[in-house]
Symmetry: C2
Subunit: 116 residues, 2 copies
Amino acid sequence: MGDTSCIFCKIARGELGTPFVYQDADVVAFRDLHPQAPTHVLVIPRRHVDSLAASTAADDVLLGKVLAGVRATADQLGLVQSGYRTVLNTGAGAGQSVLHLHAHLLAGRTLAWPPG
Amino acid sequence: MGDTSCIFCKIARGELGTPFVYQDADVVAFRDLHPQAPTHVLVIPRRHVDSLAASTAADDVLLGKVLAGVRATADQLGLVQSGYRTVLNTGAGAGQSVLHLHAHLLAGRTLAWPPG
């Protein structure tokens, strides 16, 4: 059940006391420590997967649960009317800083294009 | 199967002759008309879903297939080593310009933070 040294696995298990803004059987959602928007939440699977690139077909249902978790978090935070952006960085070269798959949910300000 | 007026449904059905850089039973992938990076591909489900916010639990498997399609497209284009960013805009306020769910896959340059 996850790498014992993985910080996001520890968060998902509740070992760090991180407040969850949303959680269900498959995912937990919590505020990014370095928010880039008025709302900036990370949605992560409870089960450890390194990244989208490292996932396999056996993880595809879980990948859907991650996006469903983003949707549920956005619903709960009242972001649907204003809109929101979901970002997954895959690989250090794209900005992935924690090797446990996570979706960034950003909202609450104008989101420019390109996305970084 | 899908709104007859939806441009992405037409693309997915092959009606516009759009070259696919990847396709499988669930998704098609094609180049963005206004690329924001050396590689900028859109991955869309063949079945019409307006947006992540408009999706329901019945769509969650398909949501996973969209991310799996991003992974497969990135594999095929050789983007894993350099890394890649996946972006879903939900709602006009976040930059969603076509009301057919789509994931942007960007790679081939430094991707800054914040993501827009």
